[in-house]
């Protein structure tokens, strides 16, 4: 029964979908000549073309002058001015695109010349943004001519056709694109009459609804052009992201040093000061041989002894936190130690063909250490597993537990500086950290790291 019903339902669904889509498209086409977008695109075509024409005149003149005088510094300076100007015109174009087309093109890096005239000259002549703006202006002008010709011929023809009946015997001129779109002489076929008039009006209507799309096509090409030549270029974007990553690394290592200093200051140093104080007190008590209170002295020495042992343990933990000695025997051994030390039963699967660089091994180790600590503290899990595998030049670490789930990046980590700091370090080497932890579990944390960084 169900099988027979199914296709019919499908049919209905499909036809309904089709109907909505057809309705949407026709709605769009019918409304196009009257939307704000159509008119602002047309306005952009006009103003942008004017700007490009001015820009081309400026660039051509200054470049020509620059080349003529190129044997002197003066010529180079003129070329520099030309590039600065082109950059400015590019900026205006972006503003226009933002205002009229709602096209958000990011600003390229600002022009920061090095000090002195020679510095300025060097910077400006090597300014990729300036040269790209020149390229844009050079390509934009022919595009603008083509665009204006297309747009205005279509709009113009549409209107002349539509007003034909009003003008009585007026014969519309074939202008611009019309002879291309329709057979030559189409509008003058036959003698003027009722049918002929209708054909002309229908042509007008078709052209009216086609006109916005002609403009849109030209503007579309311009949008692509602007995005390619007026936005920040790919190299600059990469440089910026690397700068960001570097800043994060610097911050992260500064934070690590600060944490180590804090741990030393609050832990070991305080322990040692107290230890020295107790021993000092004991020493002074022993210095007066007539009134030695042995109970007191032995208590002081006992406390000092206990303090010394605690300080040793704290120092060892701290040293291990800076560089785990287990890593000296390799990542596999270090992870095995972590798995064995975990309070929850933890299995390790390790399959790396190549040995990662020490920095990557350290990050991988601390990720696993932090994640296992987190599992032990929050997950209420009975089992956990660590998988460390190689995919080409990438190392993939997966830490999985069968606990209650619901872990989030902001909450994961045994300490505030724990996993957040690690995420920064993972990002700094172009790695990735992902947590999948639905309520009721299981939690799967995946860390991808490049083998060599």
């Amino acid at each position: 029964m169900r099988i027979r019903v199914w296709p019919t339902e499908m049919m209905i669904v499909v036809s309904e979908e089709l109907e909505t889509r057809v309705r949407a498209v026709s709605h769009k086409v019918l409304r196009a000549p009257f939307t704000r977008r159509t008119w602002s695109e047309l306005w952009f075509l006009v103003t942008g073309s004017a700007l490009a024409a001015v820009g081309l005149a400026f660039v051509a003149l200054t470049m020509a002058a620059g080349v003529v005088f190129a044997i002197t510094f003066f010529g180079l300076a003129v070329i520099g001015l030309s590039l600065r100007g082109a950059r400015g015109i590019g900026g205006f174009q972006r503003q226009l695109a933002r205002g009229l087309l709602d096209e958000q093109i990011d600003d390229p890096d600002p022009f920061v010349p090095r000090p002195g005239f020679l510095g300025w000259l060097q910077t400006v002549l090597r300014d990729r943004t300036g040269w790209r703006s020149v390229a844009y202006i050079a390509v934009k002008v022919p595009l603008a001519i083509l665009g204006i010709l297309t747009a205005f011929s279509v709009w113009f023809d549409a209107f002349t056709c539509l007003i034909t009946p009003l003008g009585g015997g007026y014969q519309p001129k074939e202008f611009g694109l019309v002879p291309v779109l329709f057979p030559p002489g189409y509008l003058s076929i036959g003698s003027p009459g009722w049918l002929h008039g209708m054909a002309i009006v229908c042509t007008g209507v078709i052209l009216l609804f086609a006109a916005p799309w002609a403009v849109r096509l030209v503007v579309f090409i311009d949008r692509r052009l602007m995005r390619a030549l007026l936005g920040p270029d790919a190299v600059a974007v990469r440089v910026r992201s690397l700068e960001h990553a570097r800043a994060q690394t610097v911050d992260a290592s500064a934070a690590t040093l600060r944490r180590i200093e804090r741990d030393l200051h609050d832990g070991t140093q305080a322990q040692l000061v107290t230890l020295a104080m107790r021993l000092g007190l004991a020493k002074e008590k022993l210095a007066d041989p007539d009134h030695i209170d042995l109970d007191q002295v032995s208590k002081l020495v006992n406390d000092a002894h206990r303090g010394a042992k605690e300080a040793i343990i704290e120092l060892r933990d701290l040293a291990r936190g800076i560089h785990p000695p287990a890593l000296d025997i390799g990542l596999e051994g270090a992870l095995a130690t972590l798995a064995a030390r975990s309070t929850i039963r933890t299995d390790l699967t390790f399959a790396l063909k190549d040995r990662p660089t020490p920095a990557i091994e350290t990050i991988a180790y601390f990720c696993v250490a932090e994640l296992l600590a987190n599992v032990a503290q929050h997950a209420k899990a009975s089992r956990a597993s660590i998988t460390c595998a190689q995919y080409g030049r990438w190392l993939r670490l997966v830490v999985r537990d069968d606990g209650i789930g619901g872990a989030q990046l902001s909450k994961v980590g045994s300490s505030s500086s724990g996993l957040t700091g690690l995420t920064d370090r993972v990002h700094a080497v172009d790695g990735r950290l992902e947590i999948v932890s639905p309520p009721r579990g299981p939690t799967v944390v995946t860390v991808d790291l490049p083998l060599h960084a």
Partner: protein
């Protein structure tokens, strides 16, 4: 027997706070309170009016110089309260800030100094009774960084020793016993230092500390 000196301890490390408390009680001080943050210190001073406060410079919430800020604040509000700043590091800038309002009843010591119990107790007593106790490290740093090196080299080796001890806030008698010389000799050295530095001679110990420090720091 004189009335015992009343002390409040502000130190965020519990182990050091307890140890210090035991030491002071053992040495006949009265510990009115032992707190771990600047807010509690303010309340405690308000309530108990102790003679002297031992203040750790680095305390919650930001662990930078909260203790110093609290100390400067407390001094403005409570005349006669001695302040002994207590730190793992010596920063001359902190010393300068602390001494800006005068050196009476001010101390600034490295935490390590508690290892020499008697000297520490003596310094604390001095601060409690309106004197000055600066860590030798403060003096060394000031001497090392001073632009008056030309003037300092004019001093004899003995005079330099006397200068350092004087800058720490010791009295002539204490300097004399430390260097195993007579008090009269100390007075002669002090007078000679002040002449060489071209400073007006000052009677009270803490005034002359300030004069010397200002001279070195200028």
């Amino acid at each position: 027997m004189t009335t015992p000196i009343r002390v409040v301890i502000a130190e965020d490390s519990a182990i050091l706070r307890d140890g210090l408390g035991q030491l002071l009680v053992d040495r006949g001080f009265v510990v009115t309170d032992a707190v771990s943050d600047p807010e509690a210190l303010r309340r405690s001073v308000e309530r108990d009016c102790p003679d002297v406060a031992i203040v750790d410079i680095r305390m919650p919430p930001r662990f930078t110089d909260e203790g110093l800020r609290a100390a400067i604040d407390l001094r403005r509000r409570h005349q006669g309260l001695g302040i002994l700043l207590f730190s793992q590091y010596i920063e001359t800038r902190y010393a300068a800030e602390l001494l800006a309002d005068g050196a009476a009843g001010i101390g600034y010591l490295l935490k390590d100094r508690v290892a020499d119990v008697s000297e520490f107790v003596e310094a604390l007593t001095r601060v409690a009774s309106g004197g000055t106790a600066l860590d030798p490290e403060v003096v060394t740093q000031l001497l090392g960084a001073s632009r008056r090196l030309g003037t300092i080299t004019v001093l004899s080796a003995r005079e330099k020793e006397v200068l350092s001890l004087m800058a720490e806030g010791r009295s002539n008698a204490a300097i004399a016993s430390e260097l195993v010389i007579s008090e009269g000799t100390v007075e002669k050295h002090v007078a000679s230092i002040f002449t060489k530095f071209d400073l007006p001679e000052s009677q009270s110990d803490h005034r002359r500390v300030l004069a010397v420090l200002r001279f070195l720091d200028s």
